[in-house]
Symmetry: C2
Subunit: 607 residues, 2 copies
């Protein structure tokens, strides 16, 4: 079935009804929508996708738990119940939830700030982060506050992900080199690596370097080879994604054959067999007080990453996701993760694409994947005893280096200097001061630059295009004006962010022109006037009245005028409200000013 056809959702699975069209119950439980049309074909497709994603997810879960500083089995736990929870509450048909690189790094940073690795408190902190993050996501979803994710602009997100990729890859180098080194920031990590160079373990190196090279080749070279061998591109793609499993198997065999454990190579060792335990997040208010900020950042970063993936995939099949319900879905996943001994999870890019390409049609595929991982943690973990940690580190390095995007800075520099600034600040602060400050400063810089621009909106002095009823910027067009009438076109809504600017702008332009007797504000582009904007208009009106100048409005939109009519502004206005700028100009230019004399006045009107 070609799922890319434009009618796929309309005529195919057919359950893509907009949440708001269904009942309230099916809005909060999307499974009630897609579950109604579930049948044998869909089941088969979902099962096939689940098997492929399971195979891919096993080494990934172990590796990301390692990155988060947690025992490998925690990665498996985080890949079981959270998937079931998302299948119940999520709105994306193909999103695959579980541990992901960036969130694992943020977990390591937050848990590392309150406890040492390999302690019970560290694990408790990770579980508590998942719980806090789950609760926050769900609350934001119920309050319909998904818009808060907008605070992360694209340049900030891409800067953060690039820097995280560099941090993650650097943090894993020690496992490839077989040495012990720490550090939360990039300079610390590099310093740690440099000072521990004498302790490199050659046997670890002999596993880690080939594994890394093999995985790079799998990612870059295998797919073309497979296609040359006659495989279809999509199948080749999926085969390449399963490459890490081959690396895992080969290095386990190496470790057994050469007895690497006794030669100082760090192995995964005994992983407890069995289903996830029932766990409880901490209720220690002091710990919660120290973890809520990182938990909020993890929630927002995780949500943004997940929703971007979900939207990309949904659009390919003309399906929809409901962002606020996605918050609830991810919240449920993280709460499920917390109560089953896991750590924060979100929708991952690579695995979701594999899930999609493998033909998953409903969130049920995620639930089947959960069963697969559960079976693996019941029966497969003894096989992983001899898995070198270096192999996991290699899978992480190869995966995250694709996150590092070196083209964006140049593109941003050419397109927008302010966006470039936000991007570079995010990268620099993330590398030098860690992930949390990185996100916060990215948001802060983005918001500052936005507020700066919003406080200086577009406006223009306009004049009439000769022999027409159109009014254009006097700086760009040859237009007709008269000295005693000043027409100002405001190109933005009047809000509190630019209300002060409006006062300054109008009063400065008037102070510059001693002949002015009438000011016309042309409001054709004003979609809204908030209370601060109204107060500024009132202030302008009073100040102009004090100086003996009339204030007039023209082309006010209907809804805006309706609201103005509810205030005393219009009756106190020292002037009139005109339907059209042309009528306003004609009446006021004739009133008390010199007669129309285009040639002379045009020159005077050109500023």
């Amino acid at each position: 079935m070609d799922s890319n056809g434009p009618e796929a959702d309309v005529s195919g699975t057919g359950a893509g009804g907009r949440a708001k069209q269904g009942s309230l119950l099916s809005q909060y439980f999307p499974i009630l929508e897609w579950g109604r049309t579930y049948n044998g074909t869909v089941l088969t497709n979902d099962l096939v996708a689940a098997v492929i994603v399971t195979i891919m997810l096993i080494p990934q879960s172990l590796a990301y738990a390692l990155l988060a500083g947690l025992p490998p089995v925690v990665g498996l736990y985080a890949s079981i119940l959270p998937l079931v929870a998302y299948a119940l509450f999520g709105t994306s048909r193909t999103l695959a939830v579980g541990p992901v690189a960036v969130v694992s790094l943020m977990t390591a940073s937050a848990a590392g700030a309150v406890a040492a690795q390999d302690t019970a408190l560290y694990l408790e902190a990770a579980i508590t982060l998942a719980a806090l993050s789950g609760i926050m996501l769900a609350v934001l979803g119920f309050l319909r506050m998904g818009f808060l994710a907008n605070l992360l602009s694209h340049p900030v997100i891409s800067g953060f992900i690039t820097a995280s990729g560099i941090l993650i890859a650097t943090s894993q180098l020690k496992h490839i080199l077989g040495m012990t080194a720490g550090g939360d920031t990039w300079p610390e990590m590099l310093g740690g690596l440099a000072s521990a160079l004498g302790t490199v373990n050659p046997w670890t190196l002999a596993v880690g370097v080939p594994a890394t090279l093999f995985l790079f080749w799998v990612r870059k070279g295998l797919k073309p080879s497979l296609i040359r061998l006659g495989l279809k591109p999509r199948a080749a793609d999926i085969a390449a994604k399963v490459g890490p499993v081959v690396a895992v198997a080969l290095t386990i065999l190496m470790a057994i054959a050469f007895d690497l454990g006794d030669r100082g190579v760090n192995l995964v060792g005994a992983i407890p067999r069995g289903l996830p335990p029932f766990a409880l997040p901490s209720t220690d208010l002091d710990l919660i007080g120290r973890l809520w900020v990182p938990a909020l950042l993890i929630s927002i970063i995780g949500f943004v990453e997940s929703v971007s993936v979900a939207q990309t995939l949904a659009a390919k099949r003309r399906q929809r996701i409901a962002p606020n319900q996605e918050l609830i879905g991810l919240g449920a996943s993280n709460i499920a993760s917390a109560f089953s001994g896991g750590y924060p999870v979100t929708g991952g890019f690579a695995r979701s694409v594999v899930n999609f390409d493998a033909g998953a049609e409903t969130p049920a595929a995620g639930a089947y994947t959960a069963v697969g991982i559960a079976l693996a943690s019941l029966f497969l973990t003894p096989l992983l005893f001899h898995l070198p940690v270096a192999t996991l580190a290699a899978t992480i390095i190869v995966a995250v280096l694709s996150l590092v995007d070196l083209d964006t800075p140049g593109q941003l520099w050419r397109y927008s200097k302010t966006d470039f600034a936000a991007h570079m600040v995010t990268i620099a602060v993330t590398l030098l001061a860690g992930v949390e400050l990185g996100v916060i400063s990215g948001v802060a810089v983005g918001l500052l630059l936005y507020l700066w621009r919003a406080s200086r909106p577009h406006a223009a002095i306009v004049g009439r295009v000769p022999e027409s009823e159109h009014f254009r910027n006097v700086d760009r067009h040859k237009v007709f004006t008269v000295p005693h009438v000043l027409s100002i076109r405001i190109d933005e809504s009047l809000t509190y962010l630019n209300a002060r600017w409006l006062e300054e702008y109008v009063l400065e332009e008037v102070a510059d022109r001693s002949e002015v007797r009438h000011v016309i504000l042309m409001c054709s582009a004003v979609n809204e006037i908030d209370a601060s904007g109204l107060e500024s208009l009132e202030a302008i009106n009073h100040r102009l009245a004090d100086a003996g100048i009339g204030l007039h409005l023209s082309e006010v939109k209907g809804p805006v005028m309706d609201r103005l009519n509810r205030t005393r502004f219009v009756e106190e206005l020292n002037g009139k409200v005109f339907l059209s700028q042309n009528r306003a100009f004609r009446e006021l230019a004739a009133n008390g000013g010199p007669p129309e004399a285009p040639t002379a006045d045009m020159a005077r009107g050109m500023i």
Copy 2:
């Protein structure tokens, strides 16, 4: 001289040149502008204004120092050098700087959080607040970040000032009643008053209540009486403002006559004679760490209050102020205050209006006022020994109750529910949790509501008005559309705050219409597309292309198109950029769709 005439600045004092027109030096030292035309007439006017303001400022300075929890003399110190500094660096001709009610309250709250009143540390904290606030203001000014004051919307400021007025008036009741009671929040203050009711001092009451009533009458009833007696309105106004001096004189005489000091009435007592001492702010990093947030809030509140007053007065004479230079002027004032044993100051409303009405023409009037206050602190302080504190409390209560504005909530409720919400949250949090959290939560709520609105901008599906080239909203007008072409008019700039919305909106509208083959985005109101907006357009393009749908743009503004042309977006566009919406619609409607059949299609196009 009638300074309200529209030509006042242009032909009169004539020194109102825009800062940017002068040299860099005169931008930072406005005195170089107005000083050039200083002459005898101006001197006389300034001196008269200075005498009147000095008389008004003496009791006010003592009273506000009391409100700030500081010795009365600190109020005098804060009214000398800060005025000289502002005269050098400020851009308003008539702003009168010094201690003001709201900033005094904030100082009491901040200093009270680190030390007990009447301790050396409390005074040091107040001085340090002035220094920190001065440095912050100056830095914001040099960085030209005055726009940050925009974060305080009018509803938030007026809510904060109303709540502060209530807090201040309540805090002074204990002085009128002659008892000891504390509390930082309103419930605490009321509780303190209630539990201390048994300790009311009848002699204090006998001074405080008549003083309060007298001052209320001076404020409300004296001016009309004086006008009936033949005084000019402006003179009557000034006379009424000097009323507190009369109350001070009368109650001093009462205190001496009835020996009130021995009857338990709290008197001001010995005020050290002499000029302000040289003081040093604290360099204790721990203290600075605890004071910088309140100092920042004091800076911003003080700046907003001061700039509003300065703008109102400047506009009356068609003069201008330069907000960023105002930051530097207020910064210099506060630094001067810190080094002369004062506390945070800003431009005050009442005294600036008196200064203006009394005829001040240049900032030199402020410097002369400083001389007046210096003389007072050299020679007048012994006279104030017997001044009852209750009199000062009465002047404060009468002054701040005019800050309480009970009309605004109703007006806001009718005009804008979101602004009403921001206003009420600010009032409630300020009363219940104190001034600092009040300001912070007001800013936060305002910003949240703004971001929420900014994330859901205006857009409309449009169709062609029959027999015209105009396109209008299909929901409001009878327009012509064809099922395979979807025209969307975007009514705002595309920024990171609404980029996600754009993706969702366009893809949802397309998902709703299975016949659509072409989407036209009509960009006539798009003034800017930031990097996030561009990335969303790229994402929409790719997703629509995946679904076999073309994406076209129309009526893109020149500067926006110039920037788009610097990217690969236009060449990757799965469609065309049209100069006009009409041309786009004509070409795409004809291409592959049914022929134009207005009647039938119009019905289908109406959604």
